[in-house]
């Protein structure tokens, strides 16, 4: 239960961090909040030769909004995400999801970039990014690029990041007026990994028609997974006419849940359909209470 030996550097600039990572080669790893990587070291599931600590790098944390985009810096702590007013306004699902991420003591260290870069299929933030159509900003010595979220998560703990490339921010597009979002999950205890979880976002136009729908599961497939059939059924429908139970059943058709000691695949499907229906009802009720049909 003690980490294996490794070398450690704590650069203060991104360029220096990237240089150290590339010099460290195949077994060098960036260290963000450490709330997943350090347990993996203790359990010896990870044996990096070099840790490049990003905690002293300037310019990686912080939230800004411009030109229809919300930019959340990779080293923004989960604690800060919970309380950020720009996030509350433009991507409330991100704050909503954070309630479920670990515990107060881990949210004080854990970061959005660490969670996105780790790509745990049961974690909340990757599904938020997928549901909202985010782009992942990544930087390597070759430069900065933005990766569409659909192309980012390749499998459990596997992403489109190249070796030596780090997540520098997550960019969320504005969904605009009339959007409501909700995140829900079922876990054995608060802070445990979700058995089933869903991020839902709906935008309704002035006539009460759903103009955009984003639904993404976590804990239901090897990667976060969009419920594309349910999204298609919702888009263009009148909000007042949506049958939440039916959409819930449709939404689990896009999942690939598994059996494990915590729950069976069939349990996950059954509960998933209920979670989706409940989330939709909640959004639709809030939408009609807002004075939008």
């Amino acid at each position: 239960m003690k980490p294996p030996a490794f070398d450690y550097v704590a650069p203060t600039s991104i360029d220096e961090a990237l240089e150290q990572l590339s010099r460290g080669g195949e077994d060098a790893r960036p260290l963000a909040g450490g709330q997943s990587l350090v347990p993996m070291l203790a359990l010896r599931l990870a044996r990096p030769s070099l840790l490049v600590d990003l905690n002293r790098v300037t310019g990686l944390a912080g939230v800004s909004h411009a030109a229809g985009e919300l930019r959340v810096g990779a080293m923004t702590r989960q604690r800060a995400i919970l309380a950020d007013s720009l996030i509350g306004r433009h991507a409330p699902a991100l704050a909503d999801a954070t309630r479920f991420v670990g515990h107060e003591q881990t949210r004080n260290r854990g970061t959005i970039g660490g969670s996105i870069g780790l790509a745990d299929p049961q974690s909340e933030y990757p599904a938020v990014a997928l549901a909202l159509g985010a782009r992942i900003e990544a930087r390597s010595p070759a430069g900065t690029r933005r990766i569409q979220v659909e192309k980012f998560f390749l499998g459990p703990y596997s992403t489109a990041l190249d070796r030596g490339e780090i997540v520098t921010a997550v960019i969320f597009p504005d969904w605009g007026e009339g959007t409501l979002m909700h995140v829900d999950e079922v876990a054995r205890r608060p802070g445990d990994f979700a058995l089933v979880g869903l991020v839902a976002a709906l935008r309704c136009d002035a006539a009460g028609k759903i103009s955009r729908a984003g639904l993404a599961w976590f804990g239901m497939a090897p990667t976060p997974r969009r419920a594309t059939r349910a999204e298609a059924a919702l888009t263009g429908a009148l909000a007042s006419g949506v049958d939440a139970e039916e959409i819930g059943r449709l939404a689990v058709e896009d999942t690939e849940p598994w059996d494990d000691v915590h729950a069976s695949a069939s349990y996950r499907r059954t509960v998933g359909a209920r979670v989706a229906a409940r989330s939709l009802r909640r959004i639709l009720d809030a939408s009609s209470n807002r004075g939008r049909p």
């Binding site: 704590a10 709330q35 881990t106």
Partner: protein, 172 residues
């Protein structure tokens, strides 16, 4: 394996040591600083027994490396009571309400609650209970701990504490 010189303040005392990169903060506190009040439980971030306060925030000391606290201000359970030995309200409440049995998890509970009382002027029972979701106790069934939380939420000193904090937050 790299070795690093770090300087940190622990319970107000300046400490300078050389540490291996792989040394966790909890092992540093216990093994290198002799502060064995912080307990190592699961050592992979699940149980909360090793909770300490780093730069004002409750964190798991098994999930930080000692080398990362260079320049930081750390508080452990040893630094919670007053210099004359009189107990912190959190410790007093846990003692009065029998909020511990074997005591192994207790330092983590104490530090989580101390941080919570400093973060929120007057935390509710629900807020304190939510903060404690990251601390596991296998003896008490949590009943005594929750009674201590209720005592803290309703204590007359909760009001005094709120006023103190408001004063300290006045513009300087």
């Amino acid at each position: 394996m790299s070795e690093h010189r770090i300087e940190t303040h622990i319970n107000g005392q300046r400490i300078e040591k050389s540490v291996d990169a792989r040394l966790t903060l909890v092992d540093f506190l216990r093994g290198e600083c002799g502060l064995t009040g912080t307990h190592a439980g699961c050592e992979h971030g699940v149980c909360g027994a090793c909770t300490v306060i780093v730069d004002g925030l409750a964190v798991r000391a098994c999930l930080m490396l000692a080398v990362q606290v260079d320049g930081a201000e750390i508080r452990t359970v040893e630094g919670v009571a007053a210099a004359d030995g009189s107990l912190h309200p959190v410790q007093q409440a846990l003692r009065e309400e029998h909020g511990l049995q074997c005591g192994y998890c207790t330092p983590g509970f104490v530090m989580t609650l101390v941080a919570e009382l400093e973060k929120l002027p007057r935390p509710s029972v629900a807020e304190m209970t939510a903060a404690l979701s990251g601390n596991i106790c296998r003896c008490t069934g949590y009943q005594g701990i929750l009674r201590a939380v209720e005592r803290l939420a309703s204590a007359p000193e909760a009001e005094a504490r709120r006023i103190d904090i408001e004063r300290s937050e006045e513009p300087r």
